[in-house]
Symmetry: C2
């Protein structure tokens, strides 16, 4: 019985796995220098190119960083929350777009996660978090704001709410989920009327957070989720109508 189906090809993937195991398993510590490419090539009995391809794979996952010059080389990278966060956003965004995840499913996941940190945020939020949220609400009320800027402000608002929980792991997980939703959210073009509705709910959230009222935040988030789904449904219906009766030819 075989323990593992080892494809003899893809040497660079095998070498990358071997080094990754060393990092994950703790044989290689943070900031420790790997052997030089030439040494690794000899160690694994492959050419330098193959080693380089393996190292690039690891670099793509932010597991190592490289430095040129004397006393340069590949070093085990301390994975920062920022790097992990950036990767997660890319992955989550693609996951949603490529698998045709419906707006409802993504929206449900997002608000379920966000509501999870509402009680913590109610306990621990600082005046800074509150000030950020108020500022974003103010920005969202400006009439001249573009749709893109409105969405970005929306993300910043929710980000502040999540950060208020004071738990970096939670922030990392949630910020990815919220930001990955953005392309889907952008499909909802916001009318002046819907912006008002959203701002009202944001204000309710901020007020509840100011009063450290966890239940109030939760209720406002539930309401916001319901409203977002209503909007999406309306947009979807409008699209269906438009497809049945296509818009007039504007080539003239």
């Amino acid at each position: 019985m075989k323990t593992e189906i080892v494809r003899p090809s893809d040497l660079s993937a095998q070498i990358a796995d071997a080094i990754r195991d060393g990092i994950v398993g703790g044989d290689l510590n943070v900031n420790q220098r790997l052997p030089s490419e030439a040494e690794l090539a000899e160690e694994f009995s492959v050419s330098r190119s193959t080693v380089r391809e393996a190292l690039k794979r690891l670099a793509a996952q932010s597991l190592i960083r490289t430095q040129r010059g004397a006393s340069g080389g590949a070093f085990v990278n301390r994975l920062s929350f920022e790097e992990a966060y950036a990767q997660q956003v890319t992955t989550s965004t693609l996951l949603l777009s490529m698998n045709a995840v419906s707006f409802d499913v993504a929206c449900e996941a997002r608000y379920a996660l966000e509501r999870a940190c509402a009680p913590l945020s109610a306990q621990r939020r600082t005046p800074d978090h509150l000030a950020t949220m108020r500022a974003e609400i103010h920005r969202q009320s400006q009439p001249g704001l573009t749709d893109e800027a409105f969405c970005a402000s929306d993300v910043a608002f929710h980000r502040a709410l999540v950060d208020g929980a004071g738990n970096p792991v939670l922030s990392y997980q949630l910020a990815g989920a919220v930001e990955a939703m953005q392309p889907l959210m952008n499909m909802i073009t916001f009318t002046a009327r819907s912006r008002e509705e959203i701002v009202a709910r944001h204000t309710a959230i901020a007020d509840a957070l100011e009063g450290r009222d966890a239940g109030g935040i939760d209720a406002a988030l539930v309401s916001l989720e319901a409203y977002a789904r209503d909007l999406a449904r309306a947009v979807a219906k409008a699209k269906t109508r438009a497809r049945q009766r296509p818009p007039p030819d504007r080539s003239a």
Copy 2:
């Protein structure tokens, strides 16, 4: 004013970014074939090795897959939940271990997220989910179980709870968080007594889920979290004592 700090070096990273933008931006569709390495080399005016390094970077993120032989090449990969999940586990695990995230912080994040899907799971769980959980509880009660097997069963139990919500996005996010916690959980060696306590709480969760009692699940999860943190505190205290008075020399 510069729009971007373009390091002239690291051509392979630039090319990888260019192709990644094409994929994320929708210029390249799923299962579409990229130009051959030779063609890409000419297009970007670099050598084939550089192109290959760029492609390996993308392959490391599961953005492309490659096939050898005639009519082979690099194809845009449909990112599956499984692949994304595996990547997230690796990333999250490293993030926790490399940044010295405390057990309390990680634990809080995990249970906050898990409680987020309890109401959904109460609504939608199928008999299958319940059966899985009961089976895992039964396994956890076996006296001969190793610590590793107990932890694995614990993960499977919670995974079933999360899957019960019937939202793949939620499952993807949460499973990563739960599994990334495993190394930290493993640091708590489970005594027979603590296993009993955990099984009791798992049973409470399963019972509440069977009765579709969201509040009951939530309460049991809160209790489980508190117990896990108590255990961790006890282990930490024991370690401190051991360091102050090292264990007797066992070389004899």
